[in-house]
Symmetry: C2
Subunit: 372 residues, 2 copies
Amino acid sequence: MEELTTLRHYLHQNPEVSQNEFETQKYLLSLLNKLNADKIEKTANTGILVSFIGKNFGKNILLRADIDALPIEETITTEYKSTITGVSHKCGHDGHATIMYGVAQHYAAQRPEKGNVYLLFQPAEENGWGARNVVADGTLKNLNIDMVFALHNLPGFKKHNIVCKTGSFTSSVVSLAAYFKGYTAHAAEPWNGRNPAGAISEYMLNALSLNAEEKPAYITVTPVHMEMGEKAYGISAGEGSVHLTVRADNNERLNKVMGVMRNMATEIAKKEELEVTFEVIEPFESNQNHPDAVNIIHKAANVAKLEYEGIADGFRFGEDFGIFTNIYPGAMFGIGSGEKCFPLHHPAYDYPDEITTTGITMFTTIQKEAQQ
Amino acid sequence: MEELTTLRHYLHQNPEVSQNEFETQKYLLSLLNKLNADKIEKTANTGILVSFIGKNFGKNILLRADIDALPIEETITTEYKSTITGVSHKCGHDGHATIMYGVAQHYAAQRPEKGNVYLLFQPAEENGWGARNVVADGTLKNLNIDMVFALHNLPGFKKHNIVCKTGSFTSSVVSLAAYFKGYTAHAAEPWNGRNPAGAISEYMLNALSLNAEEKPAYITVTPVHMEMGEKAYGISAGEGSVHLTVRADNNERLNKVMGVMRNMATEIAKKEELEVTFEVIEPFESNQNHPDAVNIIHKAANVAKLEYEGIADGFRFGEDFGIFTNIYPGAMFGIGSGEKCFPLHHPAYDYPDEITTTGITMFTTIQKEAQQ
């Protein structure tokens, strides 16, 4: 356990954002290569797939951990705090990767009784390219995978609790970027140009006013990014963009809100004599938990004597594991990080090391239960 | 003249932004080194000072041309259009540099009868660092400069007209950057963070509403730059900033507006539970034209048979030549670029080559008139 905590802290100190997990991959490979796995291969550029062949024929299970960090400057002051300015593990993927390494140690010591186990250290979950590239690479093609499982640490839930539900576990998410284009002028004579600042601000406020919580119906419009002009103080800006994520409790409402936002931006741009173009970015597919897979998770929790917490509503965050559950039957579950802790992506959130063994136990028990 | 037009077009094709005029400097040096100047030296890192010693003792005159381009993607389609994406000469400094090279040719052929002439190819006018660094370098220290002159091409005025006035020729300008700081959250749960998007938008609209034209009183607030968050669609943004330039017809009004803007930002930040800090950036000192220097310009225009156009109000744009006129008596004048053409910093503005000889004639005549 001490070794695993050391690993988690090492990963925390050396975070890398999506699609840049080169050092993370190298470090994990240096550890994994010491285990007598049946196959270790790179996938999706910065990811790793480790294969353990079962003693007997059985169900082949893919277990997945994401390994990427986020472009957030963290505020924790522990000895193992991030050494990279502006980058940190604020989604606990350092913990996920550590759990998966613990699972690898487990199967290195004893192969599964039945069925093969494939451990995927997946990069780039946060921007949705990791799962997509693993699939595109064809890495999983001839593995005859029967089921897929993944977990996520969950602040706000009792520590060690296993949180799950059938059907939509994480949301479908769409991001809408609106690009406003006018033209520059001297900053002394802005009337000679078409500056998008007013349009961008008006659009932003209008889009924020769409936020609504009429449970179970909801619309969540979140400003992610905005940029306009240059730090060139002689130039009245000529272009800028607004990047928003949009969530809703169902696809119909989501599409309706997207339409409203486009219309808003188009109207405002027209009024301000600007052009506007749109880009729809990184749709996370909703994560559909298969009833059989959820049953296996529930049984595994019972076997491991962990409290199982069924939830009524899925989470609003997107997760690219949805790309796998669209191909294979499977499920994602949560492990509570504690009721009173900072939320995911908060600059002060930190994965609790105590739940690492819980994660390892769950994955290895799930593999056994899946053979029944 | 053909040679000068070729030079202007070469500079136009190879624009470099403030403090990056390395290739421009290299190219100009390659030409200047062929002239038998008395001294050629680098200044302010990417600038050049060329000295010509007069045949007799007299008034020593500094003539200045700025050489930097702007971070603007131009839209002209001439053969000599910019070859650098996103950078172009939209303020006609390619023309200013060409005029100054023509002046160097003039004094290479015949030294001034009286007084030394110093030709300054000054970098980084657009961000105000060029004049400051020339002064800081001490390049001008032992030159016993008596007077300084500079010109600017002026769209909106009759081509070749000499435009001038005593006193404030260009404005004092201040830029105010407001940095809003909250904290990130998962984009699915923005309520767990403090996203500055609303505050930034509200502040921007409020600041824009301060624009007022009650001539001669005016306030010009121009949005130059805005940035917030990252293109990381899983993160609700935690920080962002708004960069505005502020101009007014006098310093009292300018200071008052700056105070109002700070208060606005502070109030909005408080309401949205954000921190806000401010930065005052790149103050251009107002360009004070000395009456003696303006007289010399007026006389030179008469001698050169050019129409002299006295103006009542100074220009609103800032010009770092104000740093020199705060140290030495001197003046800046304009040469009309034509009444019907695009304004300065417009993506389609282009310096008219016809006024190059006008500029050379004016500078060399001013040098003579200054000796009277």
